[in-house]
Structure formats: C-alpha cells, structure tokens
C-alpha cells in the first residue's frame, strides 16, 4: 500500500473516531473511541518514522491516561445521558455553553488562520535540520539528556506536584465534613 494511502487511512480513522467520541451518549463508549483515535495517531507516528513516539503514545495516552479516564467514569458512575431529552436543551439554558461556543468558534478561526498562513502545504513540510537525527531512540536519549536537560528535570517537579495534587483532591471532602 502506498504511503499516502496509509496516511489517509490512519488520518480518517483518527478524525472519525474523535468525531464519534463527542457524539456518544455513553461515556464508556467515548473512552473506547478515544483509545481507537490514539491508536490511529500512533499509526501516523510510525509512518513519520518516529516509532518511539508512537509507542510512547500508546503506553502513556492509550495505556495510562485512558485507564485513569475509565476509572473516573466508573468512579463517578456518570449516568447515561437521557436519549429522550432535547439535545439542545443545554445550549438554550446555560450561559456557560454559550461562552464555550464562542471559544470553539475562536479556536476554529485560529486554526483556519494558522493553516492558511502556512504556505506550500502541497510539498513536504520542513521540520528543521535535526528531524532525521532525533528519530532513533539512542539519539533521542542523547538530545533529551543534554540539550533538554532542564526540561527533563522540571518534569520531575511537575510529576511531584501532580502526585501531591491528586492526594489532596481525593482527601478534600473528608476534611470539609
């Protein structure tokens, strides 16, 4: 199969699954479709000759973050949206959703501006000189632990904050009662 065809296959899968995510009434189905979408993204990374990014995408996004989502859905036991309800009721009632709609419109405008301002999309996009170098895992390690050393160490602090935050959030209600 030619590479372009593979690209369009994975791209269509990713976009289709993502579109279905927001169309589901059952949050569990949304979680699954999002996993499918991440899988298609991993396929795109493989086509871009970045297998490590593809695998990291599966391990972290599809394997860890989605397990967390799944637990949150099961934990909250978010009820299924009632199919008989007026689908636009929320839009008519809440001011918050209007703000959301405006933000979404702004995002759409921004994205279309960004896409239009990129000239020469017909040709290959220039990714800079070191793109080929970074695609191998040892090179990635070398770059990550020399040039991006500070960012790497900062990540540890971020993880620490997230750990403390999760524990504090989970125990909060107990203290209030």
């Amino acid at each position: 199969m030619p590479e372009t065809l593979q690209f369009y296959l994975f791209a269509a899968l990713a976009i289709g699954a993502s579109a279905l995510v927001i169309g589901q009434r059952n949050p569990m189905h949304s979680v699954l479709l999002l996993i499918a979408s991440f899988g298609a993204l991993a396929g795109l990374y493989v086509l871009l000759d970045a297998p490590f990014v593809a695998v990291a995408q599966i391990i972290i996004y599809a394997g860890a973050i989605m397990v967390l989502f799944l637990f949150v859905v099961m934990l909250l036991n978010a009820p299924q949206e009632d199919a008989h309800k007026d689908p636009f009721a929320l839009v008519r009632q809440s001011g918050l959703t209007r703000v959301g709609a405006v933000l979404a419109l702004l995002l759409l405008l921004q994205l279309s501006w960004a896409l239009l301002s990129v000239s020469g999309l017909a040709g290959p996009v220039d990714a800079g000189g070191d793109a080929a170098v970074v695609s191998s895992v040892p090179e990635l390690g070398r770059v990550l632990f020399t040039d991006y050393m500070f960012a790497f160490e900062a990540t540890s602090v971020l993880i620490l904050v997230a750990m403390v935050g999760a524990v504090v959030l989970a125990g909060r209600r107990e203290n209030e009662e």
Binding site: V67, P138, L144, F145, E153, L160
Partner: protein, 132 residues
Amino acid sequence: MDGWLGFVIMSVLGVGFAAVMIGLSVLLGPRNPTPEKLAPYECGMPAVGDARERHSVRFYLVAMIFLLFDIEIAFLYPWAVALRDLGWAGFVQVLTFFCVLTVGFVYVWRKGVLDWGPVARRAGDPVQKKAA
C-alpha cells in the same frame, strides 16, 4: 519479517480469529433465552440494585500515580539506551529525577494511598473511612 507489516498481519489475524470463533458459536449454539438466564448472577438470588455503583476513590488514586510513574518510565528507556554515551552526567540527572520522585512517593506512602484493607483500617485511613 522486517518492519511493521507482520505486526499488522498479526493483529488482523487476531481480530479475525475472535470474529470467526464468535460467529461459529452463534451459528452452532442453541438460542433459548429465559428471564432467569438473562439476569446477572448473584448466587441464585434475585439481583439487587444496579451493579454500576460508585467505587472507592483509591482506584482513582492508583491510576493517577500509575500514570505519573508511567511517564517516568517513558523517559527511562531512551536514557537506558543512550547511557553509554551520556556517562556519569546522565546518571546524575536520572538520580536527581528519582530523588524528586521519591519525595512524592514517600508523601503518597505516608498519606496511606498505598495501604489497602486491614493495614489501612488500622491506621484510621481517611480514604477507607470515606468509602465505608
């Protein structure tokens, strides 16, 4: 076989195998449902309530901490592959990284997130009390 083709073939074969087996059983198996057969199993008693109830927040906490350590592991593999070039500088970096993580790990440990069952109950753990 080189490259990802074998990987794709294998996953297609896997899905195909499952589909064929399920299809065969649909064709071969009898179909005679009764309300009792279609009720969830609760030791022979009529089912009480819905199964999808709320669960202990502990599972959420475990998933959260797993996610954070998973990110650490994703960093660890490029480091492990490149260590012979990085030398002691790379070792010190990861040691620092682990030291910061250890602070978080000790905090989580002391807060009783890693305690389950009797140990947690003995410690008068807040998560456990909330679930009860």
